[in-house]
Amino acid sequence: MVIDDDADLRRLVQVTLEFTAGWAVAVAADGAAGLALVRAEAPDAVIVDLMMPGMDGYEVCRRLKQDPATATIPVVFLTARKRLDEAKVRAVGAAGVLFKPFELDDLAAQIAALCGTTS
């Protein structure tokens, strides 16, 4: 599942993962909608943009990890920032970070590697 407030980025990641890895990818445009969709669909992983209006990626991750129903779902942050507070990333329980720009052909493999699964 992809949670990102930018419609073009959301669609690009969705199409990339669907066509390069054959994954079915649900999308949400903000943190609140994303949390509801995660609880409804229990995806294998959640890719969430860090900087979103309202609820940011850190808060989305923190809430997912606090809920026993979603706590084991790996969360990967997506960001255009050059540097992140690694301690904060670890503290909220994220599996890892993808930095924009990312290689589209390798995106599924990178996500799988961060989540400790195979693509």
Binding site: A7, L9, L12, M51, T79, A80, K100, P101
Partner: protein
């Protein structure tokens, strides 16, 4: 034997072309939001214009980079960085408005150049 459920190369190309088209077609609206925010700040308008300038420039920086529009991304970063400095400083630096307008103009030019070359041969 090919998998009938596996999308063909043509289907994949069409899907990516459609996503690219949406991004390119949406560039003028993204730029209008930035221009409107900056000019509103120049007129001394209050509200969330500075946050809009910062967040929307940040968003364009990342999305443009993902689409391979690296010059657009770099120009958006310049707009974002200045807006971020204003946010941290608590106010718009009026003496920096001409430079901010120049950065936004360069972003608009980069976006126009990218859009002009996004669909070689004009095939949209």
């Amino acid at each position: 034997m090919s998998d009938p459920n596996r999308p063909s190369g043509a289907e994949r190309d069409a899907a990516f072309a459609a996503v690219l088209r949406e991004f390119v077609d949406g560039l003028p609206q993204r730029l209008l939001v930035l221009r409107t925010a900056l000019e509103g700040l120049a007129r001394g308008e209050q509200g969330d214009l500075l946050e809009t300038l910062h967040v929307r420039a940040h968003s364009l920086k990342g999305t443009a980079a993902a689409f391979g529009a690296l010059e657009v991304s770099a120009c958006a970063r310049a707009v974002e960085d200045r807006a971020h400095r204003w946010v941290r400083g608590g106010a718009v630096r009026r003496d920096e408005l001409p430079a901010a307008r120049d950065e936004l103009r360069r972003l608009e030019q980069a976006a126009a150049a990218y859009a002009a070359g996004a669909f070689p041969g004009g095939s949209r």
